[in-house]
Symmetry: none
Subunit: 259 residues, 2 copies
């Protein structure tokens, strides 16, 4: 019944007493890009509004399906875990989690079949003490102490992102498939280094110095680059052309010697 | 010299060809709340603008101190590591890092005294292929495949947040001393790539084919290798000797032509 795949569907974002419709739209977009689709609005000051729709961009569906409640209690009625985002310590005693720890807790609960709410308060005043009373713990984003004022949608973005990361880790992240060719193996690299060594000889790079150090240095460069097989072929091609030029030049020098 | 405390000061956010001044302001705020203060704008379509200032809120100072350049190269000239945010795969081959891995890499580089740039492209079109050419690797945010369109400032927020988390984890940790030579900066690498391009011409590597793809491929290889300044000198030396051979060979061919 409860699978990793549908864990995100049990997580809602509750925005309480939001002042600016634009922030509601931006929050919807932030949620949607992270795979979260459930938005709940508690007495928004202006909603619906064209600015919300504009800023939601492709996440308009999240706005359209948003539930709107006149008070907080019904918005949280079926929730098993409520975490409230707070910028600073309050008189209320509440465990504080950073977004990463909060995301772990949210995901554990959701995977266990629980309904979870992420609660965000008004842009200026944050969560009221009454709203804080509904929370099991606080989410506190460790911002710069000199200027910690995250925009509402940006706070939503950070928390939603951490939940997505936690979820991807559990779902088995879609691997960023290699955009490159097959990596070169050790034998292919050795052949390249050998070709490179002959090329440096041919173009008289060493000029009497020992080639050892330079070859080691170049080896390190190309090992660090983690060459793929196509790149190895390109580098072989360059060596071949440089050697061809050196042969032609040698013929020239030889001819000069003959004269 | 390099301490954890000032690591964030070596990290700049470069916004290229931004359309909407509001996004510049929101990005400034996102950076500032995460302890990042260096914003660089490359040919912003509208800047300065009251909307940027309004959305920057308490991060106005970041906007006021933002450098503005007409093109990308000078914005990156002294950078040792450039990571570009891309939403999707490109023809160009580039290692892709998720924001967490990218943040680790950014912080390692910065702790080693390197200048780091986070590069974000235009809101609609993202980074151009030309802009991508300046990047050592890509940052790709693993958004919901069904709707992955993060707003620019939200993408900045996610990356800045991960850098802050990585930084907080390191704050207090002993700094690593670099074991290699000073890394090459972007201007030094550009000079090397230019020398390499002339060398490939001289040794007739292209044989009538367009040099573009090969040069991009080689750029990738050497950017991935994160060359230090001594390595750049060695590679310049190899190019110089190959060109010398090509000149001699050309004289030979010319002579053959005369005969």
């Amino acid at each position: 019944m409860t699978s990793v795949a549908d864990a995100l569907a049990r997580i809602r974002c509750v925005l309480a007493n939001t002042s600016h419709p634009g922030n509601i739209g931006s929050a919807a977009r932030a949620l949607r890009t992270m795979g979260l689709r459930r938005l709940v609005l508690v007495s928004p000051q202006i909603f619906p509004h064209e600015q919300a729709t504009a800023l939601a961009a492709g996440a308009a569906e999240v706005l359209e399906r948003a539930q709107v409640h006149a008070s907080l209690a019904p918005a949280l009625a079926d929730c098993h875990l409520v975490l409230g985002a707070t910028a600073r310590r309050r008189g209320v005693e509440l465990d504080e989690l950073d977004p990463r720890a909060a995301a772990q807790r949210v995901l554990e609960a959701s995977l266990a079949g629980q309904q979870v709410a992420l609660l965000f308060g008004n842009e200026q005043s944050g969560l009221s003490n009454e709203e804080i009373q509904h929370c099991h713990a606080a989410i506190t984003i460790p911002t710069d102490p000199d200027y910690g004022s995250l925009n509402l949608a940006q706070a939503v973005q950070v928390v939603a992102w951490e939940i997505r990361e936690a979820w991807l880790a559990r779902a088995g992240a879609p691997t960023l498939t290699a955009s490159r060719d097959l990596p070169a193996d050790a034998a292919q690299l050795d052949a390249l280094f050998e070709h490179l060594a002959r090329t440096l000889d041919a173009i008289d790079f060493h000029k009497g110095r020992s080639p050892e150090m330079i070859l080691q240095r170049l080896r390190r460069v190309f090992l660090r680059a983690e060459l793929d097989q196509r790149e190895v072929r390109v580098l072989h091609g360059i060596c071949a052309d440089a050697m061809r030029m050196a042969r032609l030049a040698g013929a020239q020098l030889g001819r000069a010697g003959e004269n």
